[in-house]
């Protein structure tokens, strides 16, 4: 398996605040990595760094063989990021949101229909403005957008927030399918410990640095969420 994310002593500042204080990690293609840690530990910043959205103050890093110091622009189209906020246009309907991003990504109508059907967004919800959606429905829409983009790396920040049991299962099965197809998935969450696949890894982030990375993912560390 080839390495898709490789960070070495990456330091990232948000303003005057050192959000990441020297992260070193290496992630292979097709891995599922859970990133855990208390609030403010730097989980979101780490995901934004991997997406090429934040500049590194020092250190080196490559994602998909793009240099994080110089090739962030080129990297970005290959990344799917689901942040705290869903990034939808509140005044547009679900369908209009999907259509705009689909044409930006170059996806076709068939893919839109499939993704919307998968997340239960077809029918009545299609023509509801996203500002009138519930939190869970907005998340589902954001996931559907992730599907139609077909990125090589998924960076999910608290993906389960606001989702019901059904929604979680849909998300889990869609993550597993994506990983089967060779996608790498990073999940920052403190809600879940296991998404149902045995060879996942867990990274602990504290104080802007990875504090522990188990050598072998032990089967014993899965708890029910």
């Amino acid at each position: 398996m080839s390495t898709v994310i490789n960070l070495d002593q990456s330091i990232v500042f948000l303003g005057q605040f050192p959000a990441l204080t020297g992260v070193t990690m290496s992630i292979d293609q097709g891995e599922i990595v859970l990133i855990k840690g208390p609030n403010g530990a730097g989980k979101s910043t780490l995901l934004h760094l991997c997406a090429g959205l934040l500049p590194m103050r020092s250190g080196t890093g490559t994602v998909l063989n793009f240099d994080l110091q110089r090739q962030r622009m080129e990297l970005r189209p290959h990344i799917g990021l689901l942040g705290h906020r869903t990034g939808l246009y509140p005044d547009l309907t679900v369908k209009e949101n999907m259509k705009f991003w689909a044409s930006a990504y170059g996806s076709n109508d068939n893919e839109i229909d499939k993704a919307m059907a998968f997340f239960g967004l077809s029918g009545r919800l299609e023509s509801v403005r996203s500002q009138n959606l519930s939190e869970g429905q907005r998340r589902r829409t954001a996931f559907a957008l992730l599907l139609i983009k077909r990125p090589s790396i998924w960076l999910l920040d608290e993906p389960y927030a606001g989702l019901d049991d059904n929604g979680r299962e849909l998300v889990n099965s869609c993550i597993l399918q994506a990983v089967e197809a060779g996608t790498t998935v990073l999940i920052a969450s403190h809600q879940i410990n296991n998404i149902g696949k045995s060879d996942q890894r867990t990274l602990q982030v504290k104080g802007g640095r990875i504090t522990i990375e188990p050598e072998e993912p032990s089967k014993g560390d899965d708890h029910v969420s």
């Binding site: 002593q9 330091i11 500042f13 948000l14 303003g15 005057q16 605040f17 050192p18 204080t21 020297g22 992260v23 070193t24 990690m25 290496s26 208390p38 530990a41 500049p55 602990q204 504290k206 104080g207 802007g208 640095r209 990875i210 504090t211 522990i212 990375e213 050598e215």
Partner: protein, 258 residues
């Protein structure tokens, strides 16, 4: 000015030399401006204000163009040196612009019988430049990520600098109803002594600009130096925040990884 004579930390051999030249130059300029140079046929003695007004106007442009150049190089090379130059020059440019406006309207009072003449393009456009630089410096004062602020300020600086040629072109279109002296340097009827005094004015104001630039640059450089000096401590503090919550559970965390 005496302060340059003492041993100061922002002082070097270069600035001390400039400072001494100013100590000689400013009184000399005053003597020439008030005593040796003749009164003008049209402007009478009001011409004596021109010796400081015109050089300051030119160097206000120089200062803003320097800000523009510094901004371009900062965006291009990402070099802090250029950013500091741009910031320093903008601040001096603001002061020069302000003084140009003040001396301009003081000069206008006896000459045109009005403090402020909206019909005069050069006054109005200098005011516009003054406001642009004011905006630039306001942006630099906003509390924010210094790099982000510097990037945004440099775009504002570039826009201000490209406005100088635009504004100067606009003078031509506006010329027919402007009151301003048709470029006093070029009408050829000036007496030699008047010309020399004006020349002296350029030199004195030029040295003042360079002297202020050097000192202001060094102050700016040290300000960033102090801001960045705390970074190592900030990182240390942030790491400890991580440690304190997991004191004994992960002993090998300094390595970060396997």
């Amino acid at each position: 000015m005496q302060s340059t004579e003492k041993q100061e930390f922002t002082t070097s051999r270069g600035t001390r030399f400039m400072g001494i030249s100013l100590l000689i130059g400013i009184p000399t300029l005053l003597i020439f401006a008030f005593l040796l140079s003749p009164a003008d046929d049209n402007m009478d003695d009001a011409v004596r204000l021109i010796y400081v007004h015109v050089p300051m106007a030119i160097f206000a442009y120089v200062a803003i163009i320097t800000t523009g150049i510094g901004s371009v190089f900062f965006l291009w090379k990402k070099s802090r040196w250029w950013d500091t130059v741009a910031h320093a020059s903008a601040e001096i440019g603001l002061i020069l612009c302000g003084l140009v406006l003040i001396t301009g309207s003081i000069w206008g009072r006896p000459t045109w019988n009005t403090w402020w003449e909206w019909g005069d393009v050069r006054l109005v456009t200098t005011l516009v430049l003054f406001l642009m630089i004011l905006g630039y410096l306001a942006l630099r004062q906003v509390p924010a990520n210094p790099e982000m602020r510097a990037k945004r300020a440099s775009v504002v600086g570039i826009i201000a600098a490209v406005n100088i040629p635009i504004i100067n072109r606009s003078v031509e279109w506006w010329e027919n109803n402007t009151l301003h002296q048709k470029s006093s340097l070029t009408d050829g009827k000036l007496e030699n002594l008047t010309l020399f005094t004006l020349f002296l004015g350029f030199i004195v104001v030029g040295i003042s600009y360079l002297w202020l630039m050097t000192h202001r640059f060094r102050v700016g450089w040290m300000t960033t130096e102090i801001e960045t000096a705390g970074i190592a401590e900030l990182i240390e503090e942030r790491l400890n925040e991580g440690n304190s919550t997991v004191v004994n559970s992960q002993p090998q965390q300094k390595d970060g990884t396997k």
